[in-house]
């Protein structure tokens, strides 16, 4: 009983780390530009498919696809910002909400068109098997993916705090007009944040492809969960998103364990609603 509970808790922590990495990219975009990117989780799907095709066509293991996924999604994010999102930055609020919905529908269905809606898997990843700690079994790819996610999150955190570009991003997040007055090129910061946010979720896709099913609609649930994480963590707060991601991972698995696995996402959404009722600005906003 306790062994099972411990195993569930570990699972929750591991999936939570993945959620954190996905949500951090989203919260950066939200914080800097005040835009919800509804296509964020479809970028995750693209990352997973890049990893899948590199493996299937060229035999490249997902662990080596990570930089490729990061780079391709960085470029894609930049282009999407430049040609679509930047156009609505000064437009009506609703257009800002809807433009990325269009991108999401387009990308997900382009994937259906190109690769069919089938479920795929990377059959024999380099990392496989389980570690045994007494009664608790830990899947190695899951553990590595989660550790990697934490490492990338920490790297981003250091980048934002220690480098000049990172500080510029944080400055725009705090106050756009003051940052502009200080001579920061806010338009470039926008594009950069969008690209970095997309790149992070691409990396998350490569990690996730090591053990998760790969299919065009995979973004659906991940997307909704990551919106909740971002809002729960608080508007644009990277630390908030990181903690909320882990929290939601744990709540989801424990909720599924104690109540009903079919309701695990409903429990997460309910927790989100209760939290914003009490604290509309999120946990760390």
């Amino acid at each position: 009983m306790t062994g099972q509970l411990l195993a569930q808790l570990m699972n929750g922590l591991l999936i939570g780390c993945m959620y954190s990495l996905i949500a951090i990219g989203l919260t950066m975009i939200w914080g800097v530009m005040n835009i919800i990117n509804f296509a964020h989780a479809d970028f995750l799907m693209i990352g997973m498919f890049i990893s899948f095709w590199l493996y299937t066509l060229y035999g490249v293991d997902p662990i080596f696809s990570i930089p490729v996924c990061g780079a391709v999604l960085f470029l894609l994010g930049w282009l999407i910002y430049r040609y679509l999102v930047s156009k609505v930055m000064t437009g009506p609020g609703l257009a800002q909400l809807v433009v990325t919905f269009g991108i999401s529908i387009f990308i997900a269905n382009a994937a259906v068109f190109l690769w069919s809606p089938d479920f795929r898997m990377i059959e024999k990843p380099l990392l496989a098997g389980t570690w045994n700690f007494g009664t608790v079994q830990l899947s190695i790819p899951k553990a590595i993916a989660s550790l990697g996610s934490v490492a990338v999150s920490v790297a981003l955190f250091l980048f934002l705090r220690k480098t000049k570009t990172g500080k510029a991003i944080l400055a725009v997040e705090m106050n756009r007009s003051s940052a502009l007055l200080m001579g920061i090129n806010t338009e470039r910061v926008n594009a950069l944040s969008f690209a970095i946010g997309s790149s992070l979720v691409g990396i998350a896709g490569a990690f996730l492809s090591m053990y998760y099913y790969i299919y065009p609609q995979v973004g659906g649930t991940f997307g909704l969960i990551s919106f909740c994480i971002v809002a729960l963590g608080g508007f644009g707060s990277i630390e908030g998103a990181f903690l909320a991601g882990i929290l939601i991972g744990v709540v989801q698995t424990l909720g599924g364990y104690f109540f009903d696995p079919a309701y695990k996402y409903a429990i997460v959404f309910a927790m989100y609603l209760v939290t914003v009722w009490i604290r509309p600005q999120g946990l760390m906003g």
């Binding site: 679509l84 009506p92 609703l94 257009a95 809807v98 433009v99 269009g102 068109f113 065009p216 009722w277």
Partner: protein
């Protein structure tokens, strides 16, 4: 606000001609497919008008209208199947239930703004969907087939022709437009717009912020649930996948936005453009679920919102103003 002005003679003639054309449509066009498309246009136009009361006037961008739509569809269907209640009574019951649900969710969410409200509305609708997907009482994911009743207006069921459905949904749409027009021309409309312009200022003026937002949610939920009952009576089969999913909520938002949010006529124009487009691309290109129909749909949405964010109606009125 242009909707406040007294209509000119030209406008009166235009709308009268439009209405006459719509009334005559089923008599002139005989095919079932064109009638079906028109029914879907009216259905989504009605939901767009209902959304507009929330999103267009009060800037509460709900992405969870599918929950109200589904509650309407399920309430009347369950009442009919299990308790033999007439669908028209079911329609009112569904509307009341949806309005109560709207109030229940609206009270905790009434302080949320912008993106937070949007995400809360998605979270709410997803909880409803997941619950219905697992709820044995409503046959969970299997869905419900409506019992076939003899064809009559009283039974809200017709088998030989789609025309009666066409007229019913047209009446529903006109009713929604009237309600929306009434709200926008009266105190509540001004209050909602004041809240939209500035929360603090509206509060300072003594406008009860929570109360008017709640009214807006409840009215919007009621009308959307009516549309849900209509859908159930028209298609005669419902399951969570067809009445409760996020794409329905998104389509409602798009209908309102495409035409121009915050105008009465906007959602109707939006539905008149979007629904034929999505129905026709689905039928002509959507073989084997290839995804290409939805690709075109997604591409259009992103291009319109990026390059024509004021909507088609906004575009038309700008051209109109420039012409004067």
């Amino acid at each position: 606000m242009m909707t406040m002005k007294k209509p000119t003679a030209v406008q009166v003639v235009f709308y009268a001609a439009l209405l006459a054309g719509l009334l005559a449509f089923p008599l002139i066009v005989k095919g079932t497919f064109p009638t079906h498309i028109m029914i879907m246009v009216f259905l989504f136009a009605m939901m767009g008008v209902a959304w507009n009361i929330l999103g267009g006037y009060a800037a509460m961008f709900s992405f969870g209208q599918a929950a109200f739509f589904g509650i309407g569809a399920y309430t009347s269907t369950i009442l009919l199947m299990n308790y033999n209640v007439n669908p028209w009574i079911g329609l009112v019951a569904g509307g009341v239930l949806a309005a109560l649900m709207g109030a229940a969710i609206g009270i905790p969410c009434s302080n949320l703004r912008g993106h937070y409200f949007a995400i809360a509305s998605i979270a709410f609708a997803e909880i409803v969907r997941i619950h219905f997907n697992n709820w044995k009482f409503v046959a969970a994911a299997e869905g419900l087939s409506l019992p076939l009743l003899p064809e009559s207006l009283g039974n809200f069921m017709f088998h030989s022709s789609k025309a009666p459905y066409y007229y019913i949904i047209l009446v529903f749409l006109l009713l929604s437009v009237l309600i929306c027009w009434y709200i926008s021309a009266n105190r509540m409309g001004f209050y909602l717009r004041a809240i939209k312009e500035s929360h603090e200022l509206a509060k300072g003026m003594g406008i009860s912020f929570v109360r008017y937002r709640l009214y807006a949610i409840m009215i919007s939920a009621f009308l959307t649930a009516m549309a849900g009952t209509f859908y159930a009576q028209y298609i005669l089969y419902i399951d969570p996948e067809s009445v409760l999913i996020l794409p329905i909520s998104v389509q409602v938002v798009l209908v309102a936005m495409l035409g121009g949010a915050g105008t009465i006529i906007g959602p109707i124009i939006g539905a008149a453009i979007l629904l034929p487009l999505s129905e026709i691309t689905r039928v002509s290109l959507g073989y084997k679920g290839s995804g290409i129909d939805m690709m075109i749909y997604g591409a259009l949405i992103m291009l319109i919102s990026a390059y024509r964010p004021q909507g088609v109606w906004g575009l038309l009125t700008t051209i109109g103003r420039r012409g004067k």
